[in-house]
Amino acid sequence: MLALYSNPKWLSVTRAAVDRLAEVLGFPVEQCRSITRAVDEALTNIVRHSYRNRPDQPIAMYFRKAHRRQDGQVQQGLEILLCDRGPAVEACKLQGRSLDEIRPGGLGLHFIRQAMNTVEFTRKGPTNRLRLVKYLAQENSVL
Protein backbone atom coordinates (compact mmCIF):
# COMPACT_ATOMS: atom_id res chain seq x y z
CA MET A 1 0.00 0.00 0.00
CA LEU A 2 1.23 3.46 -0.87
CA ALA A 3 -0.40 6.54 0.64
CA LEU A 4 0.52 9.97 -0.65
CA TYR A 5 -0.68 13.53 -0.97
CA SER A 6 -2.00 14.99 -4.19
CA ASN A 7 1.09 17.10 -4.88
CA PRO A 8 2.20 16.48 -8.49
CA LYS A 9 5.81 16.30 -7.37
CA TRP A 10 5.15 12.82 -5.94
CA LEU A 11 4.05 11.51 -9.36
CA SER A 12 7.65 10.79 -10.22
CA VAL A 13 8.17 8.75 -7.04
CA THR A 14 5.07 6.68 -7.76
CA ARG A 15 6.18 6.01 -11.31
CA ALA A 16 9.54 4.71 -10.10
CA ALA A 17 7.83 2.36 -7.63
CA VAL A 18 5.22 1.04 -10.08
CA ASP A 19 7.76 0.55 -12.85
CA ARG A 20 9.99 -1.50 -10.56
CA LEU A 21 7.06 -3.45 -9.16
CA ALA A 22 6.01 -4.45 -12.67
CA GLU A 23 9.64 -5.42 -13.41
CA VAL A 24 9.85 -7.57 -10.28
CA LEU A 25 6.59 -9.30 -11.21
CA GLY A 26 8.05 -10.25 -14.57
CA PHE A 27 6.27 -7.92 -16.99
CA PRO A 28 8.28 -7.25 -20.15
CA VAL A 29 9.88 -3.82 -20.31
CA GLU A 30 7.30 -2.25 -22.71
CA GLN A 31 4.50 -3.36 -20.43
CA CYS A 32 6.32 -1.99 -17.36
CA ARG A 33 6.39 1.32 -19.21
CA SER A 34 2.73 1.26 -20.20
CA ILE A 35 1.50 0.19 -16.76
CA THR A 36 3.57 3.00 -15.24
CA ARG A 37 2.13 5.45 -17.74
CA ALA A 38 -1.42 4.31 -16.94
CA VAL A 39 -0.94 4.80 -13.20
CA ASP A 40 0.71 8.18 -13.75
CA GLU A 41 -2.17 9.40 -15.93
CA ALA A 42 -4.74 8.08 -13.45
CA LEU A 43 -3.02 9.88 -10.57
CA THR A 44 -2.78 13.06 -12.63
CA ASN A 45 -6.53 12.84 -13.26
CA ILE A 46 -7.15 12.52 -9.52
CA VAL A 47 -4.97 15.56 -8.83
CA ARG A 48 -6.56 17.65 -11.60
CA HIS A 49 -10.18 16.55 -11.70
CA SER A 50 -11.00 15.00 -8.31
CA TYR A 51 -8.96 17.43 -6.26
CA ARG A 52 -8.85 20.43 -8.63
CA ASN A 53 -5.09 20.80 -8.11
CA ARG A 54 -5.18 21.04 -4.32
CA PRO A 55 -1.82 19.47 -3.38
CA ASP A 56 -2.63 18.30 0.16
CA GLN A 57 -5.40 15.76 -0.42
CA PRO A 58 -5.06 12.02 0.32
CA ILE A 59 -4.53 9.36 -2.31
CA ALA A 60 -4.19 5.67 -1.48
CA MET A 61 -2.86 2.99 -3.80
CA TYR A 62 -3.28 -0.73 -3.13
CA PHE A 63 -1.39 -3.43 -5.00
CA ARG A 64 -2.31 -7.09 -5.10
CA LYS A 65 -2.19 -10.18 -7.22
CA ALA A 66 -5.07 -10.91 -9.57
CA HIS A 67 -6.01 -14.12 -11.41
CA ARG A 68 -8.22 -15.01 -14.33
CA ARG A 69 -8.93 -18.05 -16.48
CA GLN A 70 -8.15 -17.39 -20.11
CA ASP A 71 -8.26 -20.14 -22.77
CA GLY A 72 -8.28 -22.78 -20.05
CA GLN A 73 -5.14 -21.39 -18.42
CA VAL A 74 -4.81 -19.40 -15.24
CA GLN A 75 -3.26 -16.00 -15.88
CA GLN A 76 -1.67 -14.10 -13.04
CA GLY A 77 -1.78 -10.36 -12.94
CA LEU A 78 -1.26 -7.15 -11.04
CA GLU A 79 -4.24 -5.28 -9.64
CA ILE A 80 -3.83 -1.64 -8.65
CA LEU A 81 -6.57 0.19 -6.80
CA LEU A 82 -6.41 4.01 -6.70
CA CYS A 83 -8.59 5.71 -4.09
CA ASP A 84 -9.38 9.38 -3.61
CA ARG A 85 -11.93 11.31 -1.58
CA GLY A 86 -12.96 13.89 -4.15
CA PRO A 87 -16.54 14.42 -5.35
CA ALA A 88 -18.17 11.53 -7.22
CA VAL A 89 -16.91 11.23 -10.78
CA GLU A 90 -19.66 11.68 -13.37
CA ALA A 91 -19.52 8.61 -15.57
CA CYS A 92 -20.56 10.57 -18.67
CA LYS A 93 -17.46 12.78 -18.37
CA LEU A 94 -15.17 9.78 -18.29
CA GLN A 95 -14.32 9.65 -21.91
CA GLY A 96 -11.30 10.68 -23.81
CA ARG A 97 -11.78 12.80 -26.91
CA SER A 98 -11.57 11.48 -30.45
CA LEU A 99 -7.96 10.87 -31.43
CA ASP A 100 -8.58 12.27 -34.90
CA GLU A 101 -8.28 15.87 -33.77
CA ILE A 102 -4.92 17.49 -33.25
CA ARG A 103 -5.34 19.32 -30.00
CA PRO A 104 -3.91 19.24 -26.51
CA GLY A 105 -5.60 17.29 -23.69
CA GLY A 106 -7.97 14.36 -23.46
CA LEU A 107 -5.30 11.68 -23.89
CA GLY A 108 -4.98 10.27 -20.37
CA LEU A 109 -7.89 7.84 -20.47
CA HIS A 110 -6.70 6.52 -23.83
CA PHE A 111 -3.30 5.74 -22.35
CA ILE A 112 -4.91 4.03 -19.36
CA ARG A 113 -7.25 1.87 -21.46
CA GLN A 114 -4.49 1.00 -23.91
CA ALA A 115 -2.23 -0.29 -21.11
CA MET A 116 -4.59 -2.20 -18.83
CA ASN A 117 -6.90 -5.21 -19.24
CA THR A 118 -9.42 -3.83 -16.76
CA VAL A 119 -10.28 -0.18 -16.04
CA GLU A 120 -13.16 0.19 -13.61
CA PHE A 121 -14.43 3.28 -11.79
CA THR A 122 -16.64 2.81 -8.74
CA ARG A 123 -17.85 5.00 -5.90
CA LYS A 124 -17.82 3.49 -2.43
CA GLY A 125 -19.09 5.80 0.32
CA PRO A 126 -16.95 8.97 0.12
CA THR A 127 -14.31 7.27 -2.02
CA ASN A 128 -13.67 7.14 -5.76
CA ARG A 129 -12.03 3.85 -6.61
CA LEU A 130 -10.26 3.17 -9.87
CA ARG A 131 -9.37 -0.48 -10.37
CA LEU A 132 -6.66 -1.25 -12.91
CA VAL A 133 -5.63 -4.80 -13.76
CA LYS A 134 -2.95 -6.05 -16.11
CA TYR A 135 -2.45 -9.78 -16.72
CA LEU A 136 0.83 -11.42 -17.46
CA ALA A 137 1.27 -13.63 -20.50
CA GLN A 138 1.96 -17.17 -19.24
CA GLU A 139 5.63 -17.35 -20.23
CA ASN A 140 6.61 -14.22 -18.31
CA SER A 141 4.95 -15.20 -15.06
CA VAL A 142 7.08 -15.22 -11.94
CA LEU A 143 4.19 -14.36 -9.61
Binding site: P8, L11, D40, T44
Partner: protein, 110 residues
Protein backbone atom coordinates in the same frame (compact mmCIF):
# COMPACT_ATOMS: atom_id res chain seq x y z
CA UNK B 1 13.17 18.35 -15.32
CA UNK B 2 15.45 20.93 -16.91
CA UNK B 3 14.80 23.12 -19.92
CA UNK B 4 17.10 25.62 -21.60
CA UNK B 5 17.08 27.43 -24.93
CA UNK B 6 19.88 28.42 -27.29
CA UNK B 7 19.98 30.07 -30.71
CA UNK B 8 21.96 28.61 -33.63
CA UNK B 9 21.80 29.17 -37.38
CA UNK B 10 18.31 30.75 -37.43
CA UNK B 11 17.04 28.00 -35.17
CA UNK B 12 15.80 28.14 -31.59
CA UNK B 13 16.94 24.93 -29.90
CA UNK B 14 15.44 23.71 -26.63
CA UNK B 15 17.30 21.11 -24.56
CA UNK B 16 15.00 19.20 -22.27
CA UNK B 17 15.96 16.56 -19.76
CA UNK B 18 14.40 14.43 -17.04
CA UNK B 19 10.70 13.67 -16.69
CA UNK B 20 8.04 15.85 -18.29
CA UNK B 21 4.91 15.25 -16.30
CA UNK B 22 2.04 17.18 -14.78
CA UNK B 23 4.38 18.64 -12.14
CA UNK B 24 6.37 20.56 -14.72
CA UNK B 25 4.66 20.51 -18.14
CA UNK B 26 3.23 24.01 -17.39
CA UNK B 27 6.83 25.27 -17.14
CA UNK B 28 7.75 23.53 -20.41
CA UNK B 29 4.68 24.99 -22.10
CA UNK B 30 5.36 28.55 -20.89
CA UNK B 31 9.07 28.49 -21.73
CA UNK B 32 8.52 27.07 -25.19
CA UNK B 33 5.65 29.43 -26.09
CA UNK B 34 7.43 32.54 -24.76
CA UNK B 35 10.67 31.75 -26.54
CA UNK B 36 8.91 30.90 -29.84
CA UNK B 37 7.04 34.21 -29.77
CA UNK B 38 10.08 36.25 -28.81
CA UNK B 39 12.70 34.70 -31.05
CA UNK B 40 10.51 34.18 -34.16
CA UNK B 41 13.19 32.05 -35.81
CA UNK B 42 12.20 30.10 -38.94
CA UNK B 43 12.96 26.85 -37.12
CA UNK B 44 12.16 25.66 -33.60
CA UNK B 45 13.85 22.45 -32.50
CA UNK B 46 13.21 20.45 -29.32
CA UNK B 47 15.99 18.06 -28.35
CA UNK B 48 14.29 15.33 -26.31
CA UNK B 49 17.20 12.88 -26.14
CA UNK B 50 17.62 13.37 -22.38
CA UNK B 51 13.89 13.05 -21.63
CA UNK B 52 13.26 9.95 -19.51
CA UNK B 53 9.45 10.14 -19.41
CA UNK B 54 6.70 12.23 -20.97
CA UNK B 55 3.04 12.12 -19.96
CA UNK B 56 -0.06 13.34 -21.81
CA UNK B 57 0.34 16.87 -20.44
CA UNK B 58 3.85 16.90 -21.93
CA UNK B 59 2.38 15.82 -25.27
CA UNK B 60 -0.19 18.61 -24.93
CA UNK B 61 2.64 21.14 -24.46
CA UNK B 62 4.29 19.91 -27.64
CA UNK B 63 1.01 20.33 -29.53
CA UNK B 64 0.76 23.90 -28.26
CA UNK B 65 4.32 24.59 -29.34
CA UNK B 66 3.52 23.19 -32.77
CA UNK B 67 0.43 25.39 -33.12
CA UNK B 68 2.24 28.55 -31.97
CA UNK B 69 5.06 27.83 -34.45
CA UNK B 70 2.63 27.29 -37.30
CA UNK B 71 0.89 30.57 -36.48
CA UNK B 72 4.24 32.32 -36.91
CA UNK B 73 5.18 30.36 -40.01
CA UNK B 74 8.04 28.52 -38.23
CA UNK B 75 8.89 24.85 -38.52
CA UNK B 76 8.57 22.90 -35.28
CA UNK B 77 10.94 19.92 -35.09
CA UNK B 78 11.48 17.13 -32.54
CA UNK B 79 14.79 15.23 -32.32
CA UNK B 80 16.24 12.48 -30.11
CA UNK B 81 13.05 10.59 -29.30
CA UNK B 82 13.55 7.66 -26.95
CA UNK B 83 11.42 4.53 -27.33
CA UNK B 84 9.27 5.79 -24.50
CA UNK B 85 8.70 9.27 -25.99
CA UNK B 86 8.06 7.79 -29.43
CA UNK B 87 5.49 5.38 -27.93
CA UNK B 88 3.58 8.17 -26.28
CA UNK B 89 3.34 10.17 -29.53
CA UNK B 90 2.31 7.04 -31.40
CA UNK B 91 -0.43 6.27 -28.86
CA UNK B 92 -1.64 9.86 -29.24
CA UNK B 93 -1.68 9.37 -33.03
CA UNK B 94 0.50 12.46 -33.24
CA UNK B 95 3.71 10.88 -34.48
CA UNK B 96 2.92 11.91 -38.09
CA UNK B 97 1.86 15.42 -37.10
CA UNK B 98 5.35 16.40 -35.93
CA UNK B 99 8.44 16.81 -38.03
CA UNK B 100 10.88 14.33 -36.45
CA UNK B 101 14.59 13.64 -36.97
CA UNK B 102 17.01 11.30 -35.23
CA UNK B 103 19.38 14.05 -34.12
CA UNK B 104 20.19 17.74 -34.37
CA UNK B 105 22.61 17.38 -37.28
CA UNK B 106 19.97 15.78 -39.49
CA UNK B 107 17.39 18.36 -38.50
CA UNK B 108 19.77 21.26 -39.17
CA UNK B 109 20.62 19.83 -42.58
CA UNK B 110 16.95 19.46 -43.52
Amino acid sequence: MQISARRHDKTTIFDLSGDIDFANSPVVRESVLREIRESRTPRVLLNLSQVRYMDSSGVASLVEGLKASRDLGSRFILVGLSTSTRDVLQLSRLIKVFEIYDNEEQAMAS
